[in-house]
Symmetry: C2
Subunit: 189 residues, 2 copies
């Protein structure tokens, strides 16, 4: 999200919401997003748009970062759903759990690593045959998957054997306007 905003050179204000895990369930925050999750984009007219991938979609709309073809637009949604159901729950959560040793989800770590490596294999196989996730050009499908892929090592995933993923991450880092988003502290979803 901050990466896309940097690519677009679009001004914004960034406000952190204090929370344990991903659910800032205060009345003030629930009035903005009843689902109690970060991030939320607040538009200039006050409209609140939750879900990181919906925010990417909105910001990229009308720019080269969102393809315009029917199949390619559906494939962007395909990889955004893959990120939500197969990628984030397995690749992002182990990193988060390192800060919460008493979290009951610690018991699920072996299953998360198994499913997380499977998600990485799916990406590796896909990227072994193409430069970017969708349609031959850099898009929000790449940005959405880059976020927790490039931080997965902080959750003790070993990315060394994923050659195509590493080349793809290098290509993303060489995009004009790239900024490091490593400082991003919590789990956005």
């Amino acid at each position: 999200m901050r990466l896309l905003l940097a690519h677009l050179n679009q001004p914004y204000e960034w406000e952190e919401v204090p929370s344990r895990h991903v659910a800032p369930r205060t009345p003030e925050f629930l009035a903005i997003n009843p689902n109690g999750k970060v991030p939320v984009l607040i538009l200039e007219d006050g409209t609140a748009l939750p879900e990181s991938n919906a925010i990417l979609h909105y910001l990229a709309s009308g720019t080269p970062y969102l393809p315009t073809g029917r199949l390619e637009q559906a494939q962007v949604v395909q990889w955004m759903c893959f990120e939500q159901d197969s990628h984030v729950p397995n690749l992002a959560v182990p990193r988060l759990l390192k800060r919460y040793p008493d979290d009951p989800r610690q018991a699920n770590l072996p299953a998360m690593f198994e499913a997380g490596y499977r998600a990485l294999e799916v990406m590796e196989q896909h990227l072994a045959q193409r430069l970017y996730m969708v349609g031959g050009a850099y898009s929000v499908a790449d940005i959405c998957l880059y976020a927790y892929t490039h931080l997965a090592h902080e959750g003790d995933f070993d990315l060394a054997r994923f050659a195509a993923i590493n080349s793809w991450m290098e290509r993303i880092r060489s995009q004009p306007g790239y900024i490091g988003i490593d400082a991003q502290p919590g789990l956005e979803g």
Copy 2:
């Protein structure tokens, strides 16, 4: 998916993939979807499009079932991601687990019910103020959430107190071309 195809009166072939849970990990199926999940749409040129919401997006593109405005298109993605991260994992899985009493995920049922009722509350609050999920018209955002909402009672969710959701489901059932999808046997995601 079958509901949208019926609305669109579009011919298709439906093939069931035998699987336990949601991962038909045979070599034949992995060649079609390396992520090993149903459903997958096979286009006439052989292109395989996985992820139920990407399929809905593709089929609805260019029809009244996909809104065209920038914000509304992002809101469709918003509710599709909500379905993936907050809705299906909690509302669909209890129904599935009734068939697998020895599944280790049985231990997560109390957490699933808590999060599932929270997802229903989010929908209830949203629908109390509007007729459909996005932009005042029936769209794939409604179809995507209808599927496991209207089957949630089979996983022992009590929907009686969600008046706005029940009215919304009635509005969906009264759409031209509506077909019952209750017979849908497994978990699509």
